[in-house]
Symmetry: D2
Subunit: 368 residues, 4 copies
Amino acid sequence: MASQQQKLNVGVLGATGTVGQRFILLLADHPQFNLHALGASSSSANKTYSEAVAGRWKQARPIPSNIQNLTVQECRPENFSDCEVVFSGLDSGPAGPVEEAFRRAELRVFSNAKNYRQDPLCPLVVPLVNTDHFDILDYQRSQLQPPTKKGFIVTNANCSTTGMVVPLAALEKKFGPLDKVIVQTMQAISGAGYPGVSSLDILDNIVPHISGEEEKIEWEAAKILGGLTEDKTAFDLHQNSPMKVSAHCNRVPVIDGHLETVSVSFKNRPAPTPEQVKEALREFEPEPLKLKCHSAPKIAITLHDEVDRPQPRLDREWQNGAGVNVGRIRECPVLDIKFVVLVNNVMLGAATSSVMNAEVALAKGFLS
Amino acid sequence: MASQQQKLNVGVLGATGTVGQRFILLLADHPQFNLHALGASSSSANKTYSEAVAGRWKQARPIPSNIQNLTVQECRPENFSDCEVVFSGLDSGPAGPVEEAFRRAELRVFSNAKNYRQDPLCPLVVPLVNTDHFDILDYQRSQLQPPTKKGFIVTNANCSTTGMVVPLAALEKKFGPLDKVIVQTMQAISGAGYPGVSSLDILDNIVPHISGEEEKIEWEAAKILGGLTEDKTAFDLHQNSPMKVSAHCNRVPVIDGHLETVSVSFKNRPAPTPEQVKEALREFEPEPLKLKCHSAPKIAITLHDEVDRPQPRLDREWQNGAGVNVGRIRECPVLDIKFVVLVNNVMLGAATSSVMNAEVALAKGFLS
Amino acid sequence: MASQQQKLNVGVLGATGTVGQRFILLLADHPQFNLHALGASSSSANKTYSEAVAGRWKQARPIPSNIQNLTVQECRPENFSDCEVVFSGLDSGPAGPVEEAFRRAELRVFSNAKNYRQDPLCPLVVPLVNTDHFDILDYQRSQLQPPTKKGFIVTNANCSTTGMVVPLAALEKKFGPLDKVIVQTMQAISGAGYPGVSSLDILDNIVPHISGEEEKIEWEAAKILGGLTEDKTAFDLHQNSPMKVSAHCNRVPVIDGHLETVSVSFKNRPAPTPEQVKEALREFEPEPLKLKCHSAPKIAITLHDEVDRPQPRLDREWQNGAGVNVGRIRECPVLDIKFVVLVNNVMLGAATSSVMNAEVALAKGFLS
Amino acid sequence: MASQQQKLNVGVLGATGTVGQRFILLLADHPQFNLHALGASSSSANKTYSEAVAGRWKQARPIPSNIQNLTVQECRPENFSDCEVVFSGLDSGPAGPVEEAFRRAELRVFSNAKNYRQDPLCPLVVPLVNTDHFDILDYQRSQLQPPTKKGFIVTNANCSTTGMVVPLAALEKKFGPLDKVIVQTMQAISGAGYPGVSSLDILDNIVPHISGEEEKIEWEAAKILGGLTEDKTAFDLHQNSPMKVSAHCNRVPVIDGHLETVSVSFKNRPAPTPEQVKEALREFEPEPLKLKCHSAPKIAITLHDEVDRPQPRLDREWQNGAGVNVGRIRECPVLDIKFVVLVNNVMLGAATSSVMNAEVALAKGFLS
């Protein structure tokens, strides 16, 4: 393991929030990154992390002992000057200008916020899918006014998009472009942050609407599953083979773990059989696994044979939530194939994606 | 209101079960039916209803006082000889032979069990959709060996099918045949009876599988939405315009109320707009409403304008659960239109359908 | 039933909140009160009630049709000049000065807020327990500066206190003063209002603390169960026979209905047997029942014989939540007797108490 | 770590049940015990463990890979002849004769079943409280007909008793005998096994009764907190200073973790202050900690300063559920002191207690 000196200093923005807490658990003992600086709103500034997060730490594990007494600072670049990388768990309100300021200050920003996902220069990267999109980063830096030397922004995807695109990527890799996708999500309450969903709204209930979520899924899928243009200056948005995506999003009384039912059809005929689909998902080995990244799962897509799996409560902790779980692969009477996918929304669906993205970026030399 | 003498004597089979309890609440004070006889397994026989159901009555309302002391009997026709009609809440195990014996004994059986739903002589009737299927009853009686004079079996549909086909029927009535339907269900635990779903399986969890449910939805929809042949001796099963239906079924931690997300496409082009769809649903007035049946809702399909409705806990009791609730009608990027539908699975999805079917049958002279 | 003209005009303050919504359901069709005016914060003023409460109406029944288009006004007495009585569902923040202003303006205020519960002139009345405390109202009016002619404030108790004191009152009536009471509450989320408890705090969880609740129970019990001094100018606070009360309060994932386990000991020896206790609870008939008040339950304390009742979900709607449910009466190895009590916190524990208090006040001439 | 040869071979009875699954997770990788044999009912016999438990494995972690292919056998001593110790997760039905047969066959039985808890020769041991009770084991063996050389039975306590007696033992150690204890439990559904509690009984609900539970708490506390007679042939059952215990038991919609509110009084006056109580709990260091047993927690009683802790969901996994959590220590207006305690019912409240008992027995030479 790297000694403390060899590790890369990193910071966390929005450190007291739900996503920020997950960043802290992932980074407190990371072999390559040294969690050096914590940023939050001005009301938390100059408190120890324990003080700042008092009453809001909602994790089953206690605050890591080496983090408890770190001083929280305002999210200004000068407070993070010793860092090479910052992970952003900021809300979308402050995320836009703050992340931009950090990029300007030559920090690499790996963001869980939605603000730059649709930016034509920022990669929207699900680490188990499209880490090749990092190749646009040189162009991103060159296009800023003035250009940066090191600073860039990489975003990860919406949690429910993330779960869906991993098996879709495996299918496209093996069978060529998808034509149509209908996805219905059953999303955990932790996806809404804290305090988030009122218990009166969700106990003994389902809410069949999550603001902006369906649009995100329908749009993000094309950016993630598409490639870069040949000159690596733009995203092709899957336009060579336009893909129709329709999402129905629901909030359910589950703590963690988004479950999604998916029907898909393929451009190429004949469509693969369920057995061929299983084989394709089983053999899918994306870049973080090949690179043996610290946060990468051993198995990208865990297939379940039992007829009633995956289930959020039983399967979300598998591989520390870093992979996805797929089950019930069968023919769809309307499209070609249907199945169920589970993603741990607070892990791969959020903080784990950012961290794994940074690990891949480090391994591939984008952080030098 | 009819005097006690003018009311039709009716019985309930499976009276101590979850569906049976709902029959009792619906029939204890019915203006046209007099609840006269209760049937259950031999272990309950010769007990008062209160004794027989002790520890298993799971309704928020107490046992109606006029039913508490009715003696429960075994489900044999001779114990129901004073009845004209029986409602069956039997499990599928005993339902087959018992319902057949009652039909033979010249009783009209309105059954919630699945056993005769696929029978080519038995109507599968969602009262807000296809009460015209009663027209096959003469033929059903004529084909029995020996033919019956009065006895017949009418079934109602699976609870999740019921919720879906009401808006689909309204759409087909207005816009012609549907082409494709993809439905995802989020089904309440009460649909599995008592004790049914273990709390360890469903608290903080979703189970993405309900045995046989997807097949029921995919098959039943065609029988219900199809018509009778011209000579009224068979069901056309929607074969003039085959319809593809694909279902994803899930069990969720909700007490009552199945929520379903639905995407549909139409045979006729251009497809209707969301506004036209709303209009069609709003004006849908099926036979029980025209006949002003006692158990019929005032509004067959209640449309919700709020972006996050219907919701099970807030909307399932509306109209005593006798209608369906629809919301979020919008264009589907893959098929034509998508929306959300809620059905109260223990009311319209079960006992209320049987009772409303009997009310329509009475009004149309099928019980004379 | 009284004609519209003969009904007393009443208003509701805090009409858009959780308690306010319950007031509206109770008053929309009341035989003696005509719901004439609605008050809320300035952001709701001049909207129709439907508009003002959009997205916040969380009741299983829709907004009563005769209330939907009532105009909401600011909570100023001049907007309620046609009313005789106002019911206050205000939060404790605004409740203090607003209720005082309404009293000054000669309105009778029946308040669910906590602000005046400890006031030495204001009765703290659980309608099934101590409506005799209304006798202090003349003195209350006389002591104001300047004295009012009609205006007064009556409060009702905290929801968990309310559930406990009803059986305790029945026991004291029959067996003399209590000595010690230990109560543990399991309180529903609706007690915290909306949005209230975050789902992340309560799903698959218990929170063993509710701010200020234990102190309220321990203090309010003495005021309610005590009497008035002989000259009817003060509350005796049970001081002739001081009673020790200890409360453990917990929030649980239940929508409505506070369940409480109670152990009590009596001053007089020998203590009553469980059978004598049952008899005392069964025969308890407080004033609202004798006066046949509209909102009064038929049975003040419903006794359950089943070993596992009462239960919130099964028993909270009994009698529209206007009485209490008691079960498991047995000897306590530490004190004398122990039992379980259920109170519907949003009905008798809140709005129903205020309305029933007003009904008793009307019947006894305090509103003339 | 001991080599495989040096480890003690152990077996698990009832290996497919809820408690058995926890034994397997605790023992699959134990430094001193080698999980060698699995016993279950005849329907599971001769299957691999994976086959036998298919559809019933309800743990968030998968079946340990070294256990998946172990062959399950019937619970007969000859199938466990290579074992020194067996852990019993049997239901109380089979547990009585089966455990007796294993003892006769010279196996040491550490049982989670209730059958021998009240046996005058069998220690009832909460490992954080009364491991000194092992001193009766010689006498137990001598009194059997015929006496055994090695075989004995040690039981652990009911899960809710276990949580309560740990802080009570710390208090008695410091402040002398307790006089009175009133405890209210809010018990997780996992305490009832699988399928256990029906979801229809517990969702949005509390059940204020658990069969036999209150009696167990009230009786077991005296055996555990009492000592042995001087000659180590009997349990004194706390009779030198009789202690009154009263329990109110409730089932709540929580997966794991029993929360209990406790009020206690002391024989000696003056009673300790809350600060003194905190100090006593903090310094409590029972034998498994001193012996540094593998399964022992670092801290026996974790004190929480936050006003709303411990909470089941947030604190049950702390120290892998091997200790207890206590909070809200304050004066009780009726008895002396009151507080809240959380025990992980499936860990310290069940399998962890058996395993820790065996570890202590091993360390103290009782397994030679």
